[in-house]
């Protein structure tokens, strides 16, 4: 039984310029102890999905369709207080901007302890602090830095503290939204390695959200490629990268510079992403797609199984 099952999720925002369909018809599932990565460009809806899983959409955002089944409970049907008890205890989050995810006027260890105490009110302050100590050891923050304020930390240390905080209540699922975007490569590498180790150690399920295809390729078992609010390709890492099926996935991979291979291979995707306030009727990628036919413009594509654990949203039926 899957830990998390998302069916046909659609999310929209009311904006001054009109109704923005940020996520449309996204389905996926995640087993215990596995990791799933969402890749896409900015504005493709990947962060929105993460926030919807936490039940933290901004006030102008709303889930319009679909179900989010976590341990067989539909999170969208839960009351506020039930949802609150699931947050962090069952599902925790590592945020995009680690720089700003810590409250500047409170000490770091207090902020971690707060998460523990919120869900274990009977636990005393000293016991909570003991747990915090253990967590900080786990992520490699020296003990004498525990009582610092966030602004005294470097970027990498802040991200470590956030990871410690995410682990505080031993959640089943951690959503990591661009966890290393602001960090340098070497620190990023260390953080990713640690995350992987911790995931294995605690048998965590993880959802990785990133714009960087190489990070997701490095960390995740399954991969979902997102484009303009839709999931366009979904499958195991090996399948998706070895035999990318959707033209967008192929384009994304070939536009990414690597350390090996021939230099001339970098081919950019022409054009810009469509406007999500008035999305095109047919396939959303057809304007940029090298193999688009006239029917692509008018008919929305359907999901197509292309392998045992691999499917794509494209009119092209061949693998």
């Amino acid at each position: 039984m899957a830990l998390l099952e998302v069916e046909n999720l659609s999310i929209g925002y009311r904006t001054r310029k009109g109704y923005l369909q940020a996520v449309e018809g996204v389905s996926f599932c995640l087993e215990e102890g596995k990791s799933l990565g969402f890749v896409g460009e900015s504005g493709c809806g990947k962060t929105t999905i993460g926030m919807a899983l936490m039940g933290l959409l901004p006030p102008n955002g709303q889930v319009t369709k679909g179900r989010i089944l976590f341990e067989d409970k539909d999170l969208l049907q839960l009351s506020d207080s039930n949802m609150r008890s699931i947050r962090w205890q069952k599902i925790a989050m590592i945020f995009q901007a680690a720089m700003n995810a810590l409250n500047p006027v409170h000490r770091v260890d207090d902020q971690v302890a707060e998460a523990i105490q919120a869900h274990n009110p009977d636990l005393g302050k000293t016991n909570a602090m003991k747990q915090v100590e253990g967590l900080f050891q786990l992520v490699g923050i020296p003990e004498d830095r525990m009582r610092d304020y966030p602004h005294q930390y470097s970027g990498g240390m802040k991200q470590r503290a956030i990871i410690a905080m995410a682990l505080a209540c031993r959640p089943k699922l951690i959503i990591a939204d661009e966890p290393t975007t602001a960090l340098d490569v070497i620190v990023q590498d260390q953080i990713l390695k640690e995350t992987r180790n911790l995931q294995r150690e605690f048998n965590l399920s993880m959802i990785f959200i990133s714009h960087d295809i190489s990070i997701v390729a490095d960390v995740c078992h399954d991969i979902g490629i997102m484009y303009a609010g839709q999931l366009v390709e979904y499958g195991s890492r090996e399948e998706v990268f070895r035999s990318p099926c959707h033209p967008y996935t192929r384009a994304l991979i070939s536009s990414y510079p690597t350390l090996t291979g021939k230099k001339s291979q970098l081919t950019p995707i022409p054009g810009e992403t469509p406007n999500l306030i008035n999305p095109p009727a047919g396939c959303r990628f057809c304007d940029r797609c090298p193999g688009a036919r006239t029917s692509c413009k008018t008919e929305p594509p359907a999901w197509e199984e292309v392998g045992p654990c691999h499917s794509a949203l494209c009119h092209e039926r061949k693998l």
Binding site: M54, L56, R84, F95, A101, N103, A115, A118, Y149, M165
Partner: protein, 325 residues
């Protein structure tokens, strides 16, 4: 210990600024049209006394020597005699200062606390009725013309309803009666203070409310608020523990920046309620051409504003761990 160094630096700054004000005042006094001597000399004085005073102030000396006399007199507390009261200015000012500080600080603290509290509530109910009415109420009380509000307060609460005394700070019968205890005296002062304090409070709390409200709305958009929500904290904890302390910081700054403006209101309030403070003394002395008293009250008020600014800045540094000077 960096903080101590910062305070030291600020004190030096204050001294410099104060010297500039002192000097500008001196120059204005000498450069203004009319005879500086006659301005400093009480028209009712005997010629001998006037003679003495002139030599004491150095008014018969060249400008530079006069300046030296002026500064020396200032530091020895010799501001001359008030024409109106016929007493040394220092004594009058010394009498009035505590009254001003009492009214002024209590009104600032009260209105800041209430403003912060209500601003927090208003922002929390953004867009709802509570918020709309609080905002409008704050806007109206904040922009109402202070002396007029004071007059209306007197008219309604002192004249029509007769709940509070119309003017003054103490009732003579209470203070002259040797049998009355300290508590009763204190209550008497409090009784007199309600209306002026209420007036100042009404004028000030609105601006703090509005600043707190917008600062809080800003803070609520910060990432660490989302973190707090994601942690599954109660909304009340998020509001009071995570958002409010951060949001209150700009209010502290604005208290500091608006101090000078608040003291205008303080002077007006003292005047209308005949509260025996420095502000009223300044207004009174200016309209009675009592120059020595006017000058000294002005300098003292400037000094009070400078020092309170320092207090506010230090408070800010204390509240915000990011600030380390």
């Amino acid at each position: 210990m960096e903080l101590r160094r910062y305070i030291f630096r600020r004190i030096i700054q204050i001294i410099i600024i104060f010297f500039v004000i002192l000097t500008v005042l001196f120059l204005l006094f000498r450069l203004a049209p009319g005879d500086p001597v006659s301005r400093m000399i009480d028209p009712d004085m005997t010629p001998e006394d006037a003679e003495l005073l002139i030599s004491q102030l150095g008014l018969d000396q060249p400008l530079w020597t006069q300046y030296v006399y002026y500064v020396k007199n200032f530091f020895t507390g010799n501001f001359g005699n008030s024409f109106h009261y016929g007493q040394p200015v220092v004594r009058i000012i010394g009498d009035r200062l505590p009254n001003t500080i009492l009214l002024f600080t209590s009104s600032i603290i009260l209105s800041a606390l209430v403003g912060i509290f209500l601003g927090k509530i208003a922002s929390w109910h953004k867009g709802k009725k509570t918020d709309t009415w609080m905002t409008i109420g704050a806007l109206v009380t904040h922009t109402v013309f202070l002396p007029w509000l004071a007059l209306i307060m007197i008219w309604v609460f002192a004249y029509k309803l007769d709940w509070f005394p119309i003017t003054g700070m103490i009732s003579e019968e209470v203070w002259l009666d040797p049998d009355v205890g300290l508590l009763a005296k204190f209550l008497d002062v409090l009784h007199h203070m309600v209306l002026p304090l209420g007036t100042l409070f009404l004028i000030h709390f609105g601006s703090y409310l509005l600043i707190m409200r917008s600062s809080m709305l800003e803070t609520l958009k910060e990432d660490y608020i989302i973190t707090a929500r994601a942690k599954g904290l109660e909304e009340k904890v998020i509001r009071d523990h995570h958002a409010a302390p951060n949001a209150a910081l700009p209010v502290v700054t604005s208290v500091g920046l608006s101090l000078a403006f608040s003291i205008n209101g303080g002077a007006l309030t003292e005047t209308v309620f005949t509260w025996p403070g420095i502000g009223r003394e300044l207004v009174f002395s200016v309209s009675h051409n009592d120059y020595p008293l006017a000058q000294a009250s002005f300098l003292l008020i400037a000094f009070v504003v400078l020092v309170s600014n320092l207090v506010v800045d230090v408070l800010y540094a204390y509240l915000d761990p990011r600030i380390r000077y």
